[in-house]
Amino acid sequence: MKIEGRYLFQGTVQQVWDLLTDPRALQHCTPGCKKLEAVGNDEYRATLEIGVGPIRGSYEGKICMTEKEAPRRYKLLVEGSAAVGFVRGEGILTFQEQEGGETVIIVNGDATVGGLVAGVGQRLVEGVAKQTMGQFFKCMQGQLAAHKSGGKTEI
């Protein structure tokens, strides 16, 4: 399943890059991320509590940043697996500087849900994937705003 998105940030490319590559921000803004442990090389072991409504599970997996070209693009991978299946989202984040100190992040990626959860929940997979990505970037936007206004981020 293709995932695409375009998100506007009120900050410079460098500021947005710094935020989006900060593991604390990643943990805070990845919906349901309960644990994030560095294992080196921009790779983190993660525990993700994800789902919708009563369909909820704890997925063990990892979050990785690869193919980094600071501050222009990197590849973000989030994956986790549980008894009911696995989720895997992979996307290239491209950072584009806009006029007036704004930055747009363009996301181009691919999400896979596998196992029982895919076969049973197919009706919801696309919507929930979109929603989850939306939550992630909305949270990041909030973080940036809070940071810029001098307030403390929630991290």
Binding site: V52, G53, P54, I55, Q122, R123, V125, G127, Q131
Partner: protein, 291 residues
């Protein structure tokens, strides 16, 4: 396909139930009719540590008249919508729509409030509640609060109920004077969740020339049932008939943001939502004596 272990409680009073929810919060899940929850438990897609079965609570099992309409307690099953005289008299659309909810063997256990709290985006009752301006009575440790329908449904399977609250009652007010209703949905098989559906309400002036009130709620076309206000507004003041209905349908098709799944694409759902709106409005118009 067997449920994972959980602790099971079947409290006899609402207070007891609320205490359990307060204690276990998001680890707990309320079991009412179970027609949505049990499949998820059997498949282990839902893994609550604690089940609070509200079926043995005293009360919460009546259908009462309320504000020209009816109120329905947490334990009332969906068959009541077909069985209870008050429903047929006051809100016949609920009775009409109830026949689309699963099958008789499901409606015997499935509860009205349970379906609302489960908030399946393709389910019938949430759309009806939104269309009919229902209000939701959420009872928590600090007592009851009332949630209007436009802020009850949050997203897929998600409502504004807190983990320590029970939806103890849903209240459907009487239909606005002169408003008639229609309910349409399409599914690939009888009794399935809708690919798309619509609840349409319409009122016309006594001379039956122009539209004085409209209500359009679509379901199966996004994370929650959606009221398409823009289309409603476009109808007001227009002469009732194919042309204005068609225009409203176009707005609906443009206005909804559905998902793709194996049975229907987003484009299909958009288009069919419009079709259903047009057909439903024509049906209501006929109920109102129009041609």
């Amino acid at each position: 396909m067997k449920p994972a272990r959980f602790d099971y409680y079947d409290p006899r009073s609402l207070e007891e139930a609320l205490e359990l929810l307060q204690k276990h919060q998001a680890d707990s899940k309320i079991l009412a009719g179970g027609q949505s929850l049990m499949p998820l438990l059997n498949m282990r897609l839902a893994r609550p540590k604690v089940i609070v079965d509200i079926n043995r609570i005293d009360g919460l099992n009546s259908v009462k008249s309320w504000n020209g309409g009816i109120s329905i307690g947490a334990r009332v099953n969906q068959r009541a919508l077909e069985r209870e005289k008050q429903v047929a008299e006051r809100l016949p659309i609920l009775r009409e729509a109830a026949q689309h909810i699963g099958h008789p063997q499901i409606r015997s256990r499935g509860t009205v409030c349970g379906s609302l709290a489960h908030a399946d985006p393709a389910a019938e009752l949430p759309a009806l509640a939104l269309a009919l301006d229902a209000e939701f009575v959420a009872t928590g440790p600090k007592g009851a609060r009332t949630i209007p329908s436009d802020s009850f449904f949050v997203s897929y399977f998600t409502t504004s109920l807190e983990p320590n609250e029970i939806l103890t009652e849903v209240r459907f007010p009487g239909s606005p004077k002169g408003m008639a209703w229609s309910f349409l949905e399409i599914s690939r098989r009888h009794g399935d969740f809708a690919l798309a559906g619509v609840v349409a309400g319409l009122a016309v002036d006594p001379g039956r020339r122009s539209i004085t009130g409209a209500r359009l709620v679509c379901f199966g076309v996004g994370p929650t049932p959606v009221r398409v206000k823009e289309a409603e507004e476009a109808l007001i003041g227009q002469p009732a008939g194919e042309k204005s209905f068609h225009a409203a349908a176009e707005i609906v098709s443009r206005g909804v943001d559905p998902d793709n799944d194996v049975h229907a694409s987003a484009d299909y759902r958009r288009s069919v939502a419009g079709t259903l709106v047009r057909r439903a409005l024509l049906q209501v118009w006929q109920k109102l004596g129009g041609k």
